[in-house]
Symmetry: D2
Subunit: 387 residues, 4 copies
C-alpha cells in the first residue's frame, strides 16, 4: 500500500512555505482520494545539512542543492516553487522549458516584466499539456470559496463596494532588525507585494472581474533598522493604502500593514451588494458573515460556521463543527492542482491571474509616486477561469 502512482513532485525551498507545501503533498491523498497520489520525490535547498533534516522530517525521498539538476529529472513531473520572489521566474521558466507542470507560490514574481514572461511561457507550455498555477492559497479557504459562490449566485445582488485589509503587526517594534524582506532588491516591495497581493487576488476571485484603475499611497514608518553592519535604510513600504475600481465599477478600498498593533494575520474582507453583504476575517477562517436580505426580513449578519459538507472543500475534511486550520488551504490547493494536472485543465488562479495582480500592484505604486492620482491598469484582464 501507500504506493503513490501519481506525479513526482519537487519542492524548491524548505523553510516556512516549504514546510507548508510539504505538508500539503503529504496529506492530499488522505483527504482527496480521487486525486492521483503524488510521489514526494525531491526537496531542493542550498544548505545540505538543513535540507536533509527537513527532507527527513517532511517525508521526501531525495534532496538536491541545485534546482537546475532537478527540473529536468525524469522522476519529477511537478515543480513547486517556494523560494523568495526574485527567483521565481528563472526557476519556473526552466521547469516549463523542461516540460514540467509548475506551481509558483505567490506573488507570481517581483515585477510585471517577469510575470509577463511567465505568462507567455505558460501559454506556450499549455499547448503541450503543461499545467501552471499561482499559489494564492486563500482561494481555498472554504469561507472565501463559499463567498465567491454566493456572489456568483447573486445572493447579495450586485456588488457596489468592497472594504478590504490585511493587517499584521510583526514590524511594530523599531528595534526589530533588518531582513531581506525590507530591501527592495530582494523583496521587490514590502507589505504591498506580500499582503497586498493576497487582497487583490481575492478581489479578482470574489468578484470575477479585474481591477482596472488604482489610486494608492505607501508609507515606511521606520525608515532605518539595525543591520549586520550598523543602521541600514528600509527601502520598501511598511504600509499601503489604495482605492481600486473594477471593470464593472465596483469600488474597493484596500489597507495593508505590518505595523497594525494587535492584528496578527487579519485578512479582512467586507463585500457590500445591493441585496446583502458578506464579511470575513482570516483570524477566524472557519466563519463567514452573511446577510442575505431575500432570506432574512429582519436583516442582520449571520455567522455561518463554514464546516458543513455542502460548503466548498468540506466533504473532504471533517464532520460539521470540526474546524480547519490555516494549513488546510495548501492541501486543498494541491488537490485542485493535481486534478488539473490529471485532466490537463487550467487551475485557478493561473499565471495570468498572478500577472493581473502584479499589474494592479504596479499601478498602486505608480499612483503613490504621483501623490495618489488615479492610474489605469493595463489590459488584458485575467483569462476566464474554470469554475
Amino acid at each position: 500500500m501507500t504506493d503513490a502512482t501519481g506525479p513526482g513532485v519537487a519542492v524548491v525551498g524548505y523553510s516556512f512555505m516549504g514546510k507548508a507545501h510539504s505538508n500539503a503533498w503529504r496529506n492530499v491523498g488522505a483527504f482527496f482520494p480521487d486525486v492521483p497520489r503524488p510521489r514526494r520525490q525531491v526537496l531542493v535547498g542550498r544548505d545540505p545539512a538543513a535540507l536533509k533534516t527537513a527532507a527527513d522530517r517532511y517525508g521526501w525521498a531525495d534532496t538536491a542543492t541545485d534546482w537546475r539538476d532537478v527540473v529536468t529529472r525524469d522522476d519529477v513531473d511537478v515543480v513547486d516553487i517556494c523560494t523568495p520572489g526574485h527567483l521565481h521566474a528563472e526557476i519556473a521558466l526552466a521547469a516549463l522549458e523542461a516540460g514540467k507542470h509548475v506551481l509558483v507560490e505567490k506573488p507570481l514574481a517581483n515585477t510585471v516584466a517577469e510575470s509577463e514572461a511567465l505568462v507567455a511561457a505558460a501559454a506556450a507550455a499549455a499547448e503541450r499539456g503543461v499545467v501552471t498555477m499561482t499559489g494564492f492559497n486563500y482561494r481555498r479557504v472554504p469561507a472565501l470559496a463559499l463567498a465567491r459562490r454566493m456572489i456568483a449566485e447573486g445572493r447579495i445582488g450586485t456588488v457596489r463596494q468592497v472594504r478590504a485589509s490585511y493587517l499584521q503587526d510583526w514590524l511594530v517594534d523599531e528595534a526589530a532588525p533588518m531582513t531581506w524582506r525590507l530591501r527592495r532588491e530582494s523583496a521587490g516591495s514590502g507589505v504591498l507585494g506580500d499582503l497586498g497581493s493576497h487582497v487583490v487576488d481575492q478581489l479578482h476571485h470574489l468578484l470575477g472581474e479585474p481591477v482596472v484603475a488604482a489610486s494608492g499611497h505607501l508609507r515606511t514608518f521606520v525608515p532605518e533598522r539595525a543591520g549586520d553592519h550598523g543602521p541600514e535604510p528600509v527601502t520598501v513600504d511598511d504600509a499601503a493604502w489604495a482605492t481600486l475600481e473594477t471593470a464593472s465599477g465596483v469600488v474597493a478600498s484596500v489597507e495593508v500593514s505590518r505595523m497594525a498593533t494587535s492584528r496578527k494575520n487579519a485578512l479582512q474582507l467586507e463585500v457590500y451588494g445591493t441585496t446583502g453583504s458578506l464579511s470575513f476575517d482570516l483570524e477566524r477562517l472557519n466563519e463567514l458573515g452573511v446577510d442575505d436580505r431575500a432570506l432574512d426580513p429582519d436583516g442582520g449578519v449571520r455567522r455561518v460556521l463554514v464546516t458543513e459538507a455542502t460548503h466548498p472543500y468540506l466533504d473532504a475534511w471533517w464532520p460539521p463543527g470540526h474546524t480547519l486550520g490555516w494549513d488546510s488551504t495548501f492541501t486543498s490547493q494541491a488537490a485542485d492542482f493535481l486534478t488539473a494536472v490529471a485532466n490537463r485543465t487550467q487551475p485557478s488562479p493561473s499565471f495570468a491571474d498572478g500577472l493581473a495582480v502584479q499589474r494592479v500592484l504596479a499601478a498602486i505604486e505608480e499612483s503613490a509616486g504621483r501623490s495618489g492620482a488615479r492610474v489605469d491598469v493595463p489590459a488584458p484582464a485575467p483569462t476566464p477561469q474554470e469554475s
Copy 2:
C-alpha cells in the same frame, strides 16, 4: 422645586435633532447637578401645529415660527441650532450679533466660506464673553473620550495609523425616493458631509492634531431617484473614500457610505500606535477595544465595558455595567456646554474645530475632482482644546 435658574434656551428645529437636543436640555440637570439648570424657553419651527405638539411633548415653555424673533428675546440666553446645514450660518450670525451663546449642530455649515464667517463672528463674540460650540456629539461617547485620554497619556505609544469608517445602509434600495439630503443645493454634500464630518472630527479629537493633506474619491451609485415629479438626478455622493495625513505624519484611511448593506450606524475607529491599539464601533458604544502592551505581555485586544465611575462622564450616569444609549451623548454635551457658559470658557469642539473639519472635507472633494491627487489642507490648525 424644579425652578431652573440657569440660562434660557431656544432650540431651532423640532424633528430628529430637535428631539435629541430637547431630550438633552430636559435631562441634563438630573445627571449633572453641578451645572446651571437650563430653562427650556422656546422651540422654533415653521409649522405651527406640529411645532406646538412637539413643544408640548418635549417640554418647552413657548414656541415661535420665526427664529428672527427668538434670537433677540431677553428670556433666551442660548440659541441651539438644529436646522438643515444651509441655514446654520445665517441663524448663528444673527444670534451672535444679539449676544447669545450658540450651539450649532454638526456640520458647522455647508461651506468653508460660511464656516470661516462663523469662526470670525465667534472670535469677536468671545471677547464679549459669548460662548460657541459645534455639536459633534460623539466627542461625548464615554468610550471615545476614554480613547482620547489613553492616547494623550501615551498608553498606545505614538500613533502611526488610523483605520476609520462610518457605514450605514439606508440608501441601498434604488427605489428609495429623492430627498433634500440628495440635492447639492440643500445638503451641500452627501455622505461625506453627513458622516465624513464625524469621522474627521474624531481624528482631530483622538489625535489632538489637524489633518494637513487629503486624497479622496467620491461615488454616486444610484445617480437618479424617484422625485415628486418623476426621476430626478442625485447630485451628491453616496459613498466617499479618503487617505489623510496629520501634522505629525499619522496616516488615516476613511470610508463612509450610505450603501453598506447590514451596517446601521457603524462609526468604526481603529487606532494603531507603537505600543498598543484602540478600537471602537458605535453600534456597541459602551465598549472600547484596548491593547496596551505595557500591561499585557500576552497581547490581545481587551473588551473594556466603559461603564465604570472612573471612565469619562460615567460618574454622572449609572452604576457599572448599566449601559448608555446613543442619546446620552447629547446630554453630556449639553452639560459641557452649560459649564462653559457658566465659566465663560471655550468648550470643545469650537467653531474653529468645525471649520477645520469643513476644510478637510473640501480638500477631499477637491482631490476627488483631480482623480485622487493629494491636496493640502489650508492652515490654520484647530485652536488648542481644553482637556
Copy 3:
C-alpha cells in the same frame, strides 16, 4: 405648555432605583405621546436634606419623609415603590387600601407569604379599578420583547431548552465590606432574589408558561466580611444554580453570581427550539441573536440590531441604528403602566407574576436545603397576560 394632565405620581425611594424611576416619569411623555402625561408630585425618603436635593435634581414638585402621609394624598394617583424589598408589602398594602395604583420594583417582596398577601390585595383592588404591576423592567428591553414575540409566533418551533445566567462581579474582592444586601433579615436572600428573580421572570415572559419544578444549589464563597464592628457573617448566597422545568417540559438551567470576575451585568439567555434559537446578553442590550432555520438554509446565528421601527417599543425612540441605554427600559415600562392605568387593564407583569417568581425562588432554596433534590413549585400558575 408642559401641563401634565395625567395621574399624579409618588415615588418612594430616591437612591439608585429612585433615580431610574424618576428618569422614567420625567421622560415618558416625550417618547410616548399617546400616554397620559404623569405629574411628578412627591418624592419620598427619610433624610430630608438628601431628599430635597434629589427631588430638585430629578424634577419632583414636593417631598415627604413619611410614606404614610403620601399614600393617601389626593394629588397622588400612583405609588411607585423603590425601597428595599422588606418594605414593599407594607407600603403597597397601604397604598392599595387608599385606592392608589401601585408599581412595585422587583422582586415583589422578600417572601412568598408577603407576595401572596399582595396578590390578594391587588385582586380586591382590581375590582375597584386599581391597577398593579411588578417592575421587572427587562420585559421592556426591545430585544427581549422581540424574542418573546418570535417564540410566540413559532419562529424557533417548540422550545426544548433554555440556558440562562445573570453574572456580575462586584463581590469578587473579599475585602469588599458588609452591606445590608448581605444580611438575610434585610435582603431576604442574596443573588438568588436579586438577579435570579430577573432570570425566572424572563423564563415566564419568554415562554409564556410557569416553572413547575426546581432543583437548586446555593453557595456563599466569602462567609464573613468586614462590618462596622468587626467581622460579620454573610447570611445570604453569593451564587446560585438551578435546573428548572416548565409546565410543558422545557428544561432551563440557571446560574447567577456576584462573583463572576469580568462580568458586569451579564444577563444571558439562550433559547433552543426545534427549528431555531435565540440568544441575548444584557451587556449588549440592543442585539438579539436569531437563528431561524425556516428562513436561513445555511443556518448560523444572525446578529439583529434591534433598533428598527418594527421592533417592540422602537417607534417611540430613535431612527434605526441609534441604540438605547439601560435606562430606556424604565421609561417604556412607565408608558405601559400609564396606558394600563388609563384603560383600567392589567399590565404585565402582574403581582401574580411577581408571586410566581417568588415561589420558584423559594423552591430553589428548599431544594438547596435538600442537597438538590427536585421540589415542585406550588400552583397556581401566573394569570394570563395581556399581549
Copy 4:
C-alpha cells in the same frame, strides 16, 4: 529517508476517529522532530474492502480484520483503539496482556467496572514499562493548555466557579433516524458520555483536582426515532445538566446537549477566579479570553490569539497568526504519547484519569435517578499528572 525508526503502531477502527488518529500518526514526525518517528504498521477493521481503501488512503502498511491477530504482532508496539466504547476494554486488556503500549480514545470505557479493570491492568503493565493513555484530545488544544498553565500559575487567583457546556445540534430534527449511538447497550449513555466526558476531563485538567460530588438531570427530548424496522425507543439521554463540586470546593455547572439548535461543536468553558477569569469556545479554538486583573487595571476580557511560539505546542506548528484546526489536537497528542513511550513516563491523561471521569458521569446518572439529589463521587482521585 522517511525511514521511521520509532514504534510500530496499529490503529483499530477506520471511520471518523480512525481517520483523525491516522492523520496524527502520519504527521507527528513533521511537526515534532524530536519524537521517535512511528511506523504506521496496521489498520484494523471488519470490512476488508473498505478497510483496504482506508489503509491506502491514510498510509498504512498493512491491514487486518481481527484485532486479536494484531495485538500480538511483533511489528506492533502501540495499539491505538478507536472503536465504539463497548469494545475498548476487551481490546485494551488483550493488548496490555501482550505488552503493548495502549492509547484508548475517550471515553475510556462505557462503564465504571470496565474502567476499573483497565486501570488495574495499566498499573500492572506499567511495572513492565508499558505506557497507557486516554485520548481526551482537547487537553492538546493550545488555548486550553494555556488556560491550565495560567490557572496553575495563579494568574486568575483561586478558582471559585466554572461555567461549562458542550452544545451540538445534530439531533434537533425528530426525523433524524435511529443509530447505535442512541441505544444504551451499544453507546452506554447518550450525550453525557459522549460530550459530558470531555467537559469533566477538562475540569480535572484545568483545575488539577477531582470532582467529588455531583447533582444531575437527564432528558430525552425525542423518545422514539425511526429505526430499520419501524419506530424504536431512544434509550439514552439527549441532554444532561449537572452541578459539580471539586475537592477544594469549586462549583462547576455543566450542560451538554445534542439538541442545541445553532451550536455545532460548542465546548464552552468559563473559569472564574478571585483575581481574573478565563473563557473558551471550541468553535474558535485558537482563542482564549483572559482577564487578569493584576495586569489590567481597567479590567475587561482580552481575546488572546493563541498562536505565539511561547504558547503550548505552538513552537511545533506555524508562525504567529496562522491558526490551527481541530485535527491538530490529535497530532500533538500523538507527540506526547510517543514521548512518554520513549521515556517510559506516564502521559496525561492516564487510564486513572479516564476512570475518574467515568465515576463522575456515573454519579451524575445516579443523582438524576434520585431527582437531582447530590451523590458523592467515590475516591480515589486521579493520580498526579506530569506537567
